[in-house]
């Protein structure tokens, strides 16, 4: 039995030093954010950018939120989770908020043509897809797969987190200034 004890001890020691998931926390640890300055956190002024769409049109963030109630960015890498999110987004929020500009941001393809191919094969030909070919906007917003950013008509970041079940996006859009 001593070998078993050693094995269990090694396993527990190894795992204990690993991840916080073994003892997950529900404590609110969101840091205080300095609002009113340029940054990607909620309450900050959204960093501006210009990206080319898969239809070869150029979109500048400040121009978009200046002419819409808000801009929604969804960062995709064309995966099953991304598809679930985008499908939910398209079915639930796009028709409900006609004056909100929804952009899908492809950050995994190196060319606009590849991004267009992925867009079509995934069945999102009817949405506007921006090709973030060098991940500049992904890095600007500290995003990853599923990150959803909402910028209101004043240029303020209202949301910057995972899409999850979409309920947070719904609340943010419902309470736009």
């Amino acid at each position: 039995m001593s070998s078993v004890k050693y094995l269990v001890a090694i396993l527990l020691l190894g795992l204990a030093g690993c991840q916080s998931d073994l003892a997950p926390s529900g404590e609110d640890k969101r840091p205080a954010v300095q609002t009113g300055i340029i940054g990607n956190q909620v309450g900050q002024i959204a960093p501006d950018f210009t990206l080319e769409s898969t239809l070869n049109t150029f979109h500048t963030l400040s121009s978009e939120y200046g002419t819409h109630d808000a801009v929604v960015l969804y960062f995709t890498m064309w995966c099953p989770v991304c598809d679930s999110h985008m499908s939910h987004l398209r079915a639930t929020y796009v028709p409900k908020y006609p004056n909100v500009q929804f952009f899908i941001v492809d950050y995994v393809n190196a060319t606009v043509a590849n991004a267009r191919t992925a867009q079509i094969s995934n069945g999102y030909g009817n949405m506007t897809v921006l090709a973030d070919v060098n991940q500049s906007v992904l890095n600007l917003y500290d995003g990853t797969m599923g990150t959803t950013v909402v910028v209101d008509r004043f240029g303020a970041v209202q949301m910057n987190q995972d899409y999850s079940d979409g309920s947070k996006l719904g609340k943010v859009l419902e309470s736009l200034p």
């Binding site: 690993c18 991840q19 995966c79 099953p80 393809n109 991940q135």
Partner: protein, 318 residues
């Protein structure tokens, strides 16, 4: 990409080439210690290639152009007999993610989710027979078990930079398992059923960013596997067992703060072939498993389509 984001899922869902069965050798799909043996060490290596995915409606979709997505896993397992009818085992994978798109390359690695298993053998004598002489000879070896999956891998709720770093799901899961194993030489068959419940957990961070805390629970998981095999006896009484298996895996939709998350849930069907070489005394077993999914509509939902090659070996300590 897909490799990274469903890492945890695939680590848990993949079928490792475990040895053995009640009589040793064989084709059991769980880490099961043969009867009358003290312990077993099992090591295997998975190479998983991602090739598109099924969306929520079951439509097969190809990956982006010029992408190559892979995951490699080294699975280490140890089983130990606790009593004549009881055995326990632990498995721990180490995961390498290798994701290449036309615009991004990412290689990460880390420990995956560990699993601790406890099995009760509802039989005393070996159930492998050469000839059926009575109804009793038809009785299978029945195993009742439970498994606890530990969130030891790197999940989206850890301090990670992005989805490429993921090697686990981040949730505890408790499974109830039933394994029926019958061998009438040279044929064998197994049925394995598993029902798992994830434990709810608080979440206050996603991909490294702290968020408004909420409670999350993944959906219940069901796995059914049936397999049939044939054992060929070599001149020196070593054996080669050829096994075909079909697996159906489903996971229900999860919940966030008690409300159903409609973006979750999955289904996957797969077919696998295993070639197992066992020494005469069944103390050493080498296995090669090829797991294949059909890249067509309807063979999965909300999950990546992959092919897995597993090479493994186990050593039984008497």
């Amino acid at each position: 990409m897909i490799a990274a984001l469903v890492m945890g899922a695939t680590v848990i869902f993949s079928q490792t080439a475990y040895a053995a069965s009640c009589c040793g050798g064989g084709s059991a799909s769980s880490l099961v210690l043969p009867k009358f043996s003290k312990a077993m060490v099992d090591v295997s290596f998975d190479v998983e290639r991602y090739d598109g995915f099924w969306n929520g409606q079951g439509k097969y979709t190809e990956d982006p152009p010029d992408s190559k997505l892979s995951q490699y896993r080294l699975n280490m397992g140890y089983a130990h007999r606790l009593a004549s009818r009881w055995q326990a085992s632990v498995t721990l994978p180490y995961v390498w993610n290798d994701n290449r798109y036309s615009g991004i390359d990412s290689q990460t690695d880390g420990i995956g989710d560990a699993t601790v298993n406890l099995w009760y053998e509802a039989f005393d004598a070996i159930k492998c027979v050469w000839k059926v002489k009575s109804v009793a000879d038809l009785a299978p070896a029945t195993y009742l078990g439970t498994s606890l999956t530990l969130p030891s891998g790197v999940s989206p709720y850890d301090d990670v930079q992005n989805s490429f770093d993921i090697t686990g799901r981040g949730f505890y899961r408790l499974d109830a398992n039933l394994l029926l194993d019958k061998t009438i030489y040279p044929w064998n068959a197994t049925v394995a059923l598993s029902y798992g419940k994830y434990l709810e957990r608080p979440v206050n961070r996603e991909y490294g960013k702290y968020v408004e805390p909420y409670d999350k629970r993944l959906g219940d998981r069901q796995l059914a596997t049936i397999s049939g095999g044939y054992t060929q006896f070599l001149e020196d009484m070593d054996t080669i067992t050829y096994t075909l298996a079909y697996a159906h895996l489903e996971e229900d939709k999860g919940k966030i703060n008690g409300v159903t998350d409609t973006t979750t849930g999955m289904m996957k069907r797969s077919l696998s072939a295993t070639f197992a070489y066992a020494t005469m005394d069944r103390d050493w077993v080498l296995k090669l498993t090829i797991n294949h999914t059909f890249k067509r509509d309807g063979y999965g939902e909300n999950f990546p389509a992959t092919d897995i090659i597993t090479l493994g070996g186990s050593h039984v300590l008497r």
